[in-house]
Symmetry: C2
Subunit: 211 residues, 2 copies
């Protein structure tokens, strides 16, 4: 299964959460597609890959399908996340409601600025000194590190994170970072999203709608 499929399963899970919160018990691929601007055939194909979730004439049981998708995405246990960098971006990520909703636990922020150490985000995530990161990881399980430091510090922070044994990194710093084999680095480049909008405005074509 590709990362692209994983991305789509995440999107389906978002949609199912919304349906579940609204008290909806069952949903067809067609209704799911229409309500959330998705592709019904693609939904059926993606879900069929994992066995027979759907029931003919009924569609999918929302709670069942949610549980299955969560298991496939590795969310059936708490995923522990450390945020490196306690600036505005780090603070925003530490308290990002979507992470908590899916059961990610933001265990701490780590920063080089001693003035920030001991404080907490609005949501209560504590700030530790970056020098204590390696010991922290040796003591407590950390599954994912989020990099929210200035670009010039990013590679050295990634090296530190990798040396501490972290195998999955979500990076918000611009620029290209190097990781050794066996470590997954996922770059979030917000400029790409912004440029798809400037592209839309420049072309002004029929490409309106959601994405």
């Amino acid at each position: 299964m590709s990362e692209l499929t994983a991305g789509r399963l995440s999107v389906y899970l978002r949609a199912l959460n919304a349906l579940d919160a609204a008290g909806v018990k069952t949903v067809s691929s067609k209704a799911l597609a229409e309500q959330f601007h998705l592709n019904a055939a693609q939904i059926r194909k993606d879900l069929a890959y994992f066995g027979e979730f759907g029931i003919r004439g009924v569609g999918y049981y929302v709670k069942d399908l949610k549980r299955q998708l969560r298991a496939i995405l590795g969310l059936d246990r708490t995923v522990r996340v450390a945020v490196i960098g306690a600036g505005n971006l780090g603070m925003a990520l530490a308290d990002y409601p979507g992470f908590q909703q899916e059961g990610f636990a933001i265990v701490g922020m780590f920063d080089a600025d001693r003035a920030k150490v001991g404080r907490r985000s609005k949501g209560g995530v504590p700030i530790f000194h970056i020098d204590t990161f390696t010991d922290y990881v040796a003591r407590e399980r950390v599954d994912i590190a989020v990099i929210a430091v200035p670009a010039e510090a990013a590679q050295s922070v990634v090296d530190l994170v990798v040396a501490a044994g972290i195998r999955a990194i979500l990076n918000f710093s611009p620029g290209t970072l190097q990781v050794p084999p066996g470590v997954k680095l996922k770059n979030v480049d917000l400029t790409v999203s912004m440029e798809s909008l400037s592209f839309f405005l420049a072309r002004g074509e029929a490409a309106d709608g959601q994405a």
Copy 2:
């Protein structure tokens, strides 16, 4: 041309910026692909779509190709951006270095909290009251609105932004938002990126590397 292609052109532009900054004058599709974990055949295909940029035996002139890509992406003029919500996320986005690099001008943040009005981000972006947004847009050109408000306020903010005449919206709030035809809404769901990492950890398969 699809939005997916626009996304890839953005990624190429990032790579070319890095090469240009390093003083590189020409680059082949093969070298570009290898250095930035891209697909050489895809690069040639995407660029061929816009005419003959490459020169046999030389590859692409870095500065030339940058200028062409910027024009295609609508970056050959200043794109003016307003950020709605001056919390941690809004502040981080207002000062996001990638936006300034590509020539996006963050003209202001707009917030409902009067205590924040008159202040500025670290990078100097001023905060205005949200009640002044419609007048601001009538007076000054705003091309893109970025939504960085809590989920419960997001739809009413989007309605306000659309009523003010904005046609391109970058949304960071979780949940489904409605826009009328002719308006482009791009949702950035950070949970999807995080879940692709938890998926990787759960599977632990060969799927390592950059994405």
